[in-house]
Amino acid sequence: MDATHGNSNLVSLCVGQRGVVTSLAAEGIGRRRMLDLGLVPGTIVESVRRSPAGDPTAYIIRGTVIALRSEESSKIFVNPL
């Protein structure tokens, strides 16, 4: 857990669990991409499926299923619901 962001990140959500985005630790283009996908503070994200290898994981973000690698999802901080 990151002290400046607190909470837990998206990777730690179990399948079926939902969380509210609190902050993003990414910068530059990666951050922009996340924002464009609708990952802004307050967005509810649900973890729906994990690939057999454990990575990537599919999430429902604002009505669309989007797969994220742990490389990205570890930078997305959430409050689990």
């Binding site: 530059g28 283009i29 922009r32 991409r33 464009d36 996908l37 604002r62 009505g63 669309t64």
Partner: protein
């Protein structure tokens, strides 16, 4: 002479776009997220049967069509479908450079009425570049089926540009869309696009940088937006400016 990056790369496509400006009375850009029925709108307006698959490059090449409405010959440019104009994929760069540098007479942003929240991100980004925009609220039939009600006048009021509800696959709303395109291109509608205001520190930086840019750029280029991109550390925009200016210089050389 062999193939060079300039003659065969993405830049070559952009050059074609810029050259197309000479044809017709108005050049209209069509932007939108993927799967909003953008190509359906394009086909409905132009009567063409453009293939509706989208992958980088393909849509770009076959993206031009013409139609006539109200005594005006209109060239419609179907830009690649993107969620954003800022994240630097090749398609996004093509779409962005066209809207910013090719000076279309109007830009139509096709948005999915069933998924407005996701689509308005791109709409706001376009409004930030050019005020001459029209929102085409497509898939209204689908929205009605899903019992989604949209307060169109309120949306138009908030965005400060015309919002036209359509269902392109049934032809619904297309006449009004064509009328509105002509009015916006002719400058006959007063537009007051929603301006995003950033925090004071950023606004001060934008103001300073935009001032510096003022003498460097032709008058029609949006300085505020260029300044924002530079602050963002997006150097691809510099590339876009350079290509645009070279083009201008070549044109002027021929003219004199």
């Amino acid at each position: 002479m062999g193939l060079t990056h300039q003659s065969s790369g993405k830049g070559a496509l952009r050059e074609d776009y810029l050259n197309y400006n000479v044809k017709g009375d108005y050049v209209i850009a069509l932007a939108g997220n993927p799967n909003t029925g953008k190509s359906t709108v394009f086909n409905a307006l132009t009567g063409l049967k453009q293939h509706t698959g989208n992958w980088p490059g393909k849509t770009v090449v076959q993206a031009l069509g013409n139609y006539k409405h109200g005594q005006k010959q209109i060239t419609l440019v179907d830009l690649p479908g993107t969620y954003s104009l800022l994240a630097n994929s090749p398609e996004e760069q093509v779409a962005r450079d066209f809207i910013c540098f090719a000076e279309p007479d109007a830009t139509v942003v096709v948005v999915d009425a069933t998924c407005l929240e996701r689509n308005l991100n791109l709409a706001l980004q376009v409004l930030e570049i050019t005020p001459k925009s029209i929102i085409c609220l497509n898939l209204m039939d689908e929205a009605r089926r899903k019992k989604i009600k949209i307060d169109v006048p309120a949306l138009a009021n908030k965005l400060g540009v015309p919002v036209i509800p359509t269902a392109a696959r049934n032809g619904e709303g297309l006449t009004l869309l064509k009328d509105t395109i002509n009015l916006v291109a002719a400058g006959a509608i007063e537009l007051n696009p929603k301006r995003l205001v950033y925090d004071a520190k950023l606004e001060a930086a934008i103001l300073e940088l935009a001032g510096e840019l003022d003498s460097l750029l032709p008058p029609q280029i949006n300085r505020r937006w260029i300044a924002l991109r530079l602050i963002d550390g997006d150097y691809t925009v510099v590339d876009g400016i350079r290509k645009f200016l070279e083009k201008k210089l070549v044109k002027e050389d021929f003219a004199s």
